[in-house]
């Protein structure tokens, strides 16, 4: 018998077990339930139901819009902040970065419950304007996920390129559009993927801040699973998975573009 020899490959075993038990198996179960009917026979009835049901499609549309809106708002707010933070002049000791990340250390449900009280104290009640309250809560919760990746990409940005651009006569806005944005694009994309999908599938924020008047895909999945309609719930989950896949593929293509343009500068 061959003697057991420890090699670097074995280090992967713990994670492989984790991967199989908690990632692969649940995923396969979802696929199994999505493609079977309530009697356990193979069928596409769940998918047909999904695309025939205007409620589910409308929920999908609303979720996509809220997800996209949240991504755009987070980017609009987060981008300038990340730019300032990456500048050593304003952030010499990294304390401000800490301040922006700190909300993430507090439990998410607790934070949202506190947001609810805070919002209703300043007059934005979830009962009267659920969409406004939910959007504020979403932006608040996902802003750190935008700032962090943007901040790290901007730290690595080549300052000489920016200097060169202005030396060669580019106006400040041209420098921004032609030099800074292309260089920070990888950060923008990873920020967007970290915000868009979680927003669509989140149900805690929409439940707590929207006083359960807003139904996102996450709420729909929750409802179906809670009432033992696992096949329906799995189908919706799988459809969301496909949407993630598509959006990942799309962003991959976008990522390549600046690179093909000669370093993404000109």
């Amino acid at each position: 018998m061959k003697k057991f020899r420890f090699s670097r490959k074995q280090l992967v075993i713990p994670y492989a077990i984790f991967l199989i038990l908690f990632v692969l198996l649940p995923l396969l179960l979802i696929v199994y339930y999505a493609f079977t009917n309530s009697e356990g026979h193979l069928s596409f009835v769940n998918f047909i139901n999904f695309f025939k049901d205007s409620t589910k499609l409308n929920t999908l549309a609303i979720s996509i819009v809220i997800g996209a809106l949240n991504t755009i708002l987070c980017l609009l707010i987060g981008y300038p902040i990340a730019y300032l933070l990456a500048n050593k002049k304003y952030n010499s000791n990294k304390v401000i970065v800490m301040l922006f990340v700190m909300p993430m250390w507090i439990n998410f449900v607790l934070r949202t419950a506190a947001t609810r009280d805070l919002l209703s104290a300043i007059g934005i009640k979830g009962g009267t304007m659920p969409y406004v309250a939910v959007m504020i809560g979403m932006v608040y919760n996902y802003l750190p996920f935008v700032i962090l990746p943007l901040y790290t990409t901007m730290l690595k940005m080549d300052k000489s390129v920016i200097e060169a651009a202005s030396d060669l006569g580019a106006k400040p806005y041209q420098v921004f559009i032609k030099a800074i944005i292309p260089m920070s694009m990888p950060g923008v994309i990873s920020a967007a993927t970290m915000v868009f999908m979680p927003t669509m599938s989140s149900f805690v924020i929409s439940d707590i801040l929207g006083e359960r008047k807003i139904q996102l895909l996450g709420n729909l999945i929750d409802l179906n699973f809670n009432h033992s309609l696992w096949n329906n719930g799995s189908t919706i989950a799988l459809i969301m998975l496909v949407i993630i896949g598509i959006s990942m593929l799309l962003t991959k293509n976008v990522k390549k573009e600046p690179a093909s343009r000669g370093g993404g500068v000109w």
């Binding site: 409308n58 549309a61 009962g127 006083e211 008047k213």
Partner: protein, 498 residues
């Protein structure tokens, strides 16, 4: 195509059941596994041990020092509990679901009978007392209700609830409200939720079963009002009245579902929101003024409001009728019957019941002197004057206390006392909820339809526009680049020729 999928499924299931099995030890005679709602039992204080500990002691004394183990698990909603029972290999000896879930579990064969389900109605009490000597300390009204309410079992036979389940706690559903903001006359009807006067002031439950009932009462309010007029003019008897309300409340035909959907959509525009747990604190802080709630939660909120804000809330059961609910203990499949019976009997002991009731704020199904004394101590006026209201609770306590004892004089109505012990007029207009059964999927679809955004065309327009814009942007930038590269190439060529 079919086979590999099935095989995959089998593999997955077997691996999961393997995991499930290994965590569970083999059937042990000395272990009692209880599956109960969260915070639904007395957990001990400075003076008394928890009910579980007391039971262990009691059992040890009774059986010559035989030690037992109690494993206590909790769940949050009936639906969650059913999910756990359906998935896991986890097995429980005693489970405490609500009325409509008990029905469903009996129908699905998830529970074992306590006594032979074919026992005729007049023999049930005798059989029960043999198994649980304390059975007769349960309120005679509730006992009768459980003995006479029939449901279908897995074989399709009509069986009485009593043969499967022991009542534990009960209560009504109604409105808790802030009397400073809400008119007393308005709150007596379900239509208050749809009343524009109270826009953004009320909440409904984010639970399909309960809010469906509220909508049904609103939709059929004319019919229900006629019914109560008939009762007043003695055209129908009380039991006919209750039976008719039960029929109306449990309607689930297509027309009703449609009406409920419309009502629900209107309600959604008018209410503050749906909630499961936040309502009972929101009404204390004043975010809302009307909360559709369970009587036990109402007691909790009234207590908190008094202590923290020095405000007084009221509870009322609408005049059209409402739901009376029960949580009862059932035996899980292959339950350890000997221990389960002992524990049920222990719970029916009025002393233990009063401990439980004191802790959780809901009303115990157990009657008897201990309970009556406790209720009197809590609620009876210190001085009985002309202004005191006399509330006759003999419908509940029946023969478990001396005749004429069960009249309580109280200073205030529509408060904690009325929430815990409604008077007879209120109880007869309360009906028991039935399981949706086959209609479950249709009603769930209606629910998510009503709750989803009705004006979502704009969302589609936004999506399509942005897709078009993205495609256009990509095309234009590609075209631009193409032109540019061509231009550069031309220039290069020119340079070369020069």
């Amino acid at each position: 195509m079919k086979k590999p999928f099935c095989l995959l499924g089998c593999l997955l299931f077997s691996s999961i059941s393997l995991v499930g099995c290994s965590s569970k030890t083999k059937q042990d005679d000395n272990v009692l596994r209880i599956y109960n709602w969260q915070d639904y039992i007395f957990e001990g204080d400075d003076e008394n041990d928890s009910v579980i500990e007391q039971f262990k002691e009691y059992y040890k004394e009774k059986h010559d020092g035989k030690e037992i183990k109690v494993e206590y698990y909790t769940f949050e909603t009936n639906e969650n509990m059913l999910n756990v029972l359906n998935t896991g290999k986890s097995q429980y000896d005693l489970i405490c679901p609500s009325d409509y879930t008990i029905q469903k579990m009996i129908k699905d064969g998830l529970v074992e009978p306590i006594i032979d389900p074919t026992t005729p109605e007049d023999k049930i009490e005798e059989e029960m007392t043999k198994k649980l000597p304390n059975y007769t300390s349960i309120s005679p009204y509730i006992r009768e209700l459980f003995e006479t309410s029939l449901t279908k079992n897995k074989q399709g036979e009509d069986v009485s609830w009593a043969s499967y389940s022991i009542p534990y706690m009960w209560g009504t559903m109604g409105f808790m409200y802030d009397p400073n903001q809400v008119d007393e006359e308005d709150i007596k009807s379900w239509s208050v939720v749809w009343d524009k006067k109270y826009k953004y002031k009320a909440t409904l439950k984010d639970s399909v079963r309960d809010t469906y009932c509220a909508c049904v009462f609103y939709v059929y309010q004319d019919e229900l009002n006629e019914l109560s007029a008939k009762l007043e003019s003695k055209e129908i008897t009380e039991s006919q009245y209750t039976a008719k309300i039960t029929e109306i409340m449990n309607r689930k035909d297509k027309a009703t579902i449609k009406k409920v959907e419309k009502a629900l959509q209107e309600a959604k525009e008018n209410i503050y929101g749906f909630e499961v747990d936040s309502g009972k604190s929101d009404i204390v802080t004043g975010k809302i003024a009307i909360n559709f709630c369970w009587s036990g939660d109402a007691v909790y909120s009234m207590d908190t409001a008094e202590e923290e804000n020095d405000t007084y809330l009221n509870y009322v059961v609408p005049k059209e009728g409402s739901n009376i609910w029960f949580d009862g203990w059932v035996l899980g499949k292959n339950a350890n019957k000997e221990l389960a019976y002992e524990f049920l009997n222990f719970l029916c002991d009025p002393r233990i019941a009063s401990l439980n009731m004191n802790e959780i704020g809901y009303t115990s199904s157990v009657a008897g002197n201990e309970i009556l004394d406790m209720v009197k101590e809590w609620y009876e006026s210190e001085e009985i004057t002309e202004d005191s209201y006399a509330v006759d609770l003999s419908w509940f306590f029946g023969d478990t206390v001396e005749e004429g004892e069960a009249i309580i004089y109280t200073d205030e109505l529509d408060r904690q006392f009325s929430a815990q012990y409604p008077d007879y007029e209120t109880v007869i207009r309360c009906a028991i909820m039935e399981d949706f059964g086959k209609e479950n999927t249709a009603i769930l679809e209606m629910w998510s339809r009503a709750k989803s955004e009705s004006h979502s065309l704009w969302a589609w327009i936004v999506i399509i526009l942005s897709i078009v814009a993205a495609v256009a942007f990509v095309c234009i930038s590609k075209a631009n680049r193409h032109v540019r590269t061509k231009r550069v190439a031309n220039k290069n060529k020119l340079n070369q020729t020069n």
